[in-house]
């Protein structure tokens, strides 16, 4: 019989396969998924600032070096194609249960 941890891992793998996101952080590629993203543009002095908010959901064990706020992350591929091949800024990193890691990202200039 599968343990709760194994069932959670299996569930997470299913979500990842349905809503895949591949990111690159510090030169290493990771697979995961993402929460719904908020995308906008804000007009300020000088022009239009992108306004993007999303949370990457990754497997904590995949990271030997955990991401930190302020670092950049590249989304290589994503089920939301408008976010692909762009760099984003990590604003916070959360470890809710030790199994997954939640990485909040915004546009580089937010």
């Amino acid at each position: 019989m599968a343990t709760i941890a194994q069932e959670l891992a299996s569930d997470f793998d299913s979500i990842k396969s349905d809503f895949p996101v591949v990111i690159n952080h510090n030169g290493t590629t990771y697979n995961g998924t993402m929460s719904s993203a908020t995308k906008g543009r804000t007009l300020e002095e000088g022009g239009l600032f992108p306004d993007i908010d999303a949370v990457l959901i990754m497997k904590s064990a995949d990271f030997t070096t955990k991401p930190k706020a302020g670092q950049k992350v590249l989304i290589n591929s994503c089920f939301d194609c408008s976010l692909r091949l762009q760099n984003y800024r990590i604003t916070s990193v959360e470890f809710p249960d030790g199994a997954i890691i939640l990485i909040s990202i915004v546009a580089l200039n937010q």
Binding site: R41, L43, E45, G46, G47, L48, F49, P50, G70, K72, R89, L108, N109, Q110
Partner: protein, 148 residues
Amino acid sequence: MPTFYNDVDSKLESTIKALLTAQAATSGSNIASVDIHTGLSTSDIELDLIFGLVESAEENPSGSGNWICQTTIAVYTSAHDTGLATHRSRVSEVRDLFMSDCLATTISDDNTETLTCLAVQNYQIAQRIEDNYFIGEISFDVVCYGSD
């Protein structure tokens, strides 16, 4: 497209952008890789940015057609990606460009817009941090009139 005599704020912003762009093209410029925009702009901001904004203008003396334009040049540099040393070198280069004795003549001579500058005065400099950006500003008053 006609150029309008009293469109001094837009004309001045365009001229400032042209001066900054010319400076960025000089050999060894610290602002070579930076996006340069006017203050009112619908261009997308990628990361670092310099813009020239004419915040307001007052006709003085009234009815003369001469305007005192409160102008600010702002240098935005990403604290995470670019860093403070580069920011400082950019700000000092922009200050040197605009705190020049011959700036009034330079603005008049620039052929981006039909604008005649009589004087540049009341310089102020400021710096601050906002949203992970180092920001350096230089503000001054430009006394000018539209030449058309």
